[in-house]
Subunit: 756 residues, 2 copies
Amino acid sequence: MRVMANIGVGQRRLEGRAKVTGATRFTADLRLVGLTHARLLLSPHAAARIRRVGLEAVRQAPGVLDAVSGADLPPAAAPGPDLPLARERVYFAGQPVVAVVAETEEAAADAAALAEVEYELLEPVLDIEAALLEGSPVVLDSPAGGMDDAGAHGVGGGGEDEGAVAAPNVTSQVRFQEGDVEQALASSAVVVRGSYRLPAVHQGFLETHVSAAAPAPDGSLTVWTPTQGSFLTRRTVAERLGVPLSEIRVVPMAVGGGFGGKVCLLEPLVALLARRVGRPVMLELTRTEEFLMGRGGPAASVEIELGSDLAGSLRALRARVAFDNGAGPGGLGALAALLMAGVYRLPAYQVVALDVATNKTPVAAYRAPGAQQAFFPLESAMDELAERLGQDPIELRVRNASRQGDPRPDGQPWPRIGLTECLEAARRHPVYTSPVAEGEGIGVAVGAWGGGREPAAAGCRVEPDGTLLLHLGSVDISGTDTTLAMIAAETFGTSVERVRVETGDTGTAPYAGMAGGSKTVYTVGPAVQQAAAEARRQLLQIAAEELEAAVEDLELEDGEVRVAGVPGRSLEVGHLAGLAAQFGGRYPPVLGQGRAAITEASPMFTVHIARAHVDADTGHWRLTGYAAIQDVGRALNPPEVEAQIHGGALQSLGRVLGEELVWDGEGQLQTASFIDYGLPTIDQAPSIQVELLEIPSPIGPYGAKGVGEPPAVPGPPAVANAIYAACGRRLRELPADFGRLLEAPAPADLVEDTVR
Amino acid sequence: MRVMANIGVGQRRLEGRAKVTGATRFTADLRLVGLTHARLLLSPHAAARIRRVGLEAVRQAPGVLDAVSGADLPPAAAPGPDLPLARERVYFAGQPVVAVVAETEEAAADAAALAEVEYELLEPVLDIEAALLEGSPVVLDSPAGGMDDAGAHGVGGGGEDEGAVAAPNVTSQVRFQEGDVEQALASSAVVVRGSYRLPAVHQGFLETHVSAAAPAPDGSLTVWTPTQGSFLTRRTVAERLGVPLSEIRVVPMAVGGGFGGKVCLLEPLVALLARRVGRPVMLELTRTEEFLMGRGGPAASVEIELGSDLAGSLRALRARVAFDNGAGPGGLGALAALLMAGVYRLPAYQVVALDVATNKTPVAAYRAPGAQQAFFPLESAMDELAERLGQDPIELRVRNASRQGDPRPDGQPWPRIGLTECLEAARRHPVYTSPVAEGEGIGVAVGAWGGGREPAAAGCRVEPDGTLLLHLGSVDISGTDTTLAMIAAETFGTSVERVRVETGDTGTAPYAGMAGGSKTVYTVGPAVQQAAAEARRQLLQIAAEELEAAVEDLELEDGEVRVAGVPGRSLEVGHLAGLAAQFGGRYPPVLGQGRAAITEASPMFTVHIARAHVDADTGHWRLTGYAAIQDVGRALNPPEVEAQIHGGALQSLGRVLGEELVWDGEGQLQTASFIDYGLPTIDQAPSIQVELLEIPSPIGPYGAKGVGEPPAVPGPPAVANAIYAACGRRLRELPADFGRLLEAPAPADLVEDTVR
């Protein structure tokens, strides 16, 4: 059997040196001749009609090239908060109303302040529960309420129309149910109930949203952006501008932090402005603008009831998850409901997920979107149930964990999953087993992620110097280029040092989907494998002719093709490739191509263990230990996988340590800076012990599963459970700041609300 | 049978609109932030040692960033005139000695004038015959004389060592021979003899040589250049800089005229300078610099003897072709010799071709390089022979024309060629048959071109809007992008309007060779056909699943895939491609790839007919009619093919109408501007009637053969023969200016020199 020279062997990030030496050129570093700068005027009101926009003074300000409001831009098919600039109405405080293009950023900002916008204030809808009340003002123009086809079908069916919630501002809803949940709860020996709230959060990336666009003399436009998905951005820009796809070229730039939040925000506006002024335009958000109009993860309000028999076998789950999507359609409901009802074996369940609109900043994806909102309540309830039953919390989970073949709410059976293995490993883990100190508690929680799928292609060219050139359309937000290079090296038979990754723009890159859903290596990897294998096959064919040997007798190693067992009969890979790239050459160029469309996901599971110490008098708490156990299928680049888990875990801990977007009663964001928004600092971070389990995926390249999303899920419930164990106070609201912790319910105060 | 919707149907050039509206961005139009400008100091001497280069004053001049001589650049493996800057010696007047980089072009030029270069003059070798004399100074450092392996092998063998010319300054030589040429000439009934001289010429492109290079923070370099061969340029630059291929990215820019002369000249120097100053550098030659250091086509001196029997069957050819390559190795000898000895059936021949170095500007390729030097003497001699024999000049050629299966000098048999068909068509052509006026004469001449071969790849992506995106590595210098788009459209089943060509840079483009040798459509076309056919196959597979039909029952037309015979059962091409480029899609992306390596050429033949009126007293002559008949295999884009022939014919006529690079006795170029260099003006151009013959190539796409080179060959002999017919004076030297014409030999003065 062939020994893997690259897979499972730690590799430094290919782009790491450039990043740490400052050589990486980010979008804001782009210097384009004739570059102009745009700045925005944002709405100060959460809900209002725009009566008048006066731009006379703006246009006459020094250095100003253009000043526009929404009315100056081409009309869009659908009105609403997603327009590049507000038109007639504003839907949230922070919505862009006016854009000014000037020779300098300062001139643009100064001029924007001269805009005269007259608003007629409307009553904003700010609270999710209020938004659901009959008679609430309607946030979005499109009809609210009723079942949204797209949302339901997006999870493969299972949503049913009967029993739909008829409330204003519900943009979509899904319901998964099985058995008679009412009867099953009534007959359960133990039922725990709780209402949970998770705040809206921001991805907190270092690089704020930024884009540049330049018009070409032929009328086409080039857009430079740190997008996670260049093809998706191309489509969005082309649609907004009403031009063919071929007139937009998106150049994906290095992403200074994405986490799901960098897909397409400013690009259509910047493209429109560049086309108007006929010069390159760049727009970079300030940090405050980023908070006001960048799109974070949604707040959620969850009610849950979980019942079991006395032995600890779950009988029923009833839950309602309501996402507060701000002034947008959201769309995470189905995902959250599917996870919530699918992770444990449940004879009866009813999970309803509502997407609700309010007059706050619209939301987008943020690492494992929807999963935190499912697992914080579910894993808190499991912990509560274990305590009520007097069972070990891991034992309870193992007993009920879904296994291969169990039905999921969408009707599909679970494939081979690693949930029980993660739980068993957690049970043995020192962070779980070592004795607790005074005031310390241990909590565990499960997290999961289904995994996205998307077709992808890749190219692999062999250069006359022996280098393997990997041509990709995917964007690297988490070290995937390095892993894909490793896959290419392993498949072709070379070392990763000889692989060079070329990330193409949308003009020439092989198609790949957005970097998100923990799917890049999983879905692009097979295309890379195919491409590298094909390049190897082509090269060996040339070698066979040149060396007058059968392909089966050839070995490719150390940059050479050798005839096995015949010392000296060898030719360099680069020489062979060069034969196919020269005048008069008789071999076709060595250029492999891979095209893959994985149709099955390999769902990912993780278990986190938290140890927390709580001062019961002050509410002061801190993490004293942490472990993350995760089934990664196969760790292709182990240190990178561990680093992903570190980062993900810490990012999920932010939600319990202090991250929270807070709006006041008028819809003004109170946390629009890193002073006010509680991004965790490194002194709050626990030492995170990572344990990798490798239960190979039958589908992913070399057995790999997705990695990035699961660790971002179970931090809050693991910590909440540890805090409960430490002090007997159950967190039902995040984050767990000192004050809130003291207000958290003690055991006696268990909330007994039932789900509506 | 399927009707061809695209092939053979005239199409406008895809890039035509951008070119005529000025939207095309040429290299000199590039605006790079921080761009600096280089200017050169050229050697005023044809041959000298460099004693000292003083750059102190230069470096202190305002705006100067860097000033370098050859000694400041990394040493190269081989010294000589091809170094970016002269080192120790200069080999021709115009050789770059000093480069200055400054903030502006003017500052660089002003500063360059301050350089102090001390030369020790050497005796220049300027005349080709003097260069061959024993005791002549040696022009190049590398050993001259002897048989050059590369030159001989380059034409598939046939060169023989015995009888090699042992003369100084011969850089390579080839000899093709068959039979006893001495005896065959002696026994010929008629022998014509002549000495011919062709001057050096310049390609005369509108855009002078220009390149820009920019260093990236990671140490790599991007080079923008109007090169005809991006991969060749990448290799040359990487070699000169001593860096891996992967550190150089060559972006091929629109070529403002190439004709073989735009491959790689300034790029290594500009790259070296950019690396030194750490900023982008652009160097654009002035027109005078272009003439002094740009590389045109070589002068040649040819002696020929041609004998036949009384019936007009050729018996023997003896010829010596000597190329004056200036201060470079040249290398066209083999090609010229092969053509000269191969076009007619010859029982005995001996053709020797010498590449000779002199202290003049080195040469490069210029449209059909080597062929003019073969056909001007050969076709003049054929004309002379016809007259001596009292035969029709076309009849004589038809009688002796090589046909399929006849052996070529390289030992290979001719494939099916169109020489006799072209001659027969010429015989019927009105320009040949219509009566002559007083003082008017008619001349005919044959031209030929073998055709280059090189492996090539291409990609073809189907976009979600139904567009076909063709990814190419070849450079368009003659409308090839349009023709390749037509091939893709035809093969896929769409219209050329829905095809978009993306010319990739060397980082991501599929490999293709230099645009030259009339080979782009011939060699890249098959790769495009494969790629488009593969994309079509992939798309139809998706359609078959979506439409629940067998692939065989599907039709692809008008941007839709239809189930044959079932009205309404159809889906749009873009929709189908979009299914393979979306989240959760179950089809791999539609991305075809083609890889081709044509190993057989399809040689091209043409016959030109010229009518000239000559005033026998003044020598004033003008063209009164012109026809070009060419076998193009298959005219894929007929108006473009005709335009190629128009342009080629006119370019070859320049050599007889007045083009000539003239050096004085000290090696100073006397024709370094368009005032002094006699590029023909449109009033000198005849109306050129093009007749296309289509004898399909069994290899080229849709039967196509190369087009661009053959029309540039037979203009001078056709005109010379017409002039002879008009006034009885035979041109043995080009161009045919009035004075020279009056000095040309009258019939009685026939030169009786024999070949050495």
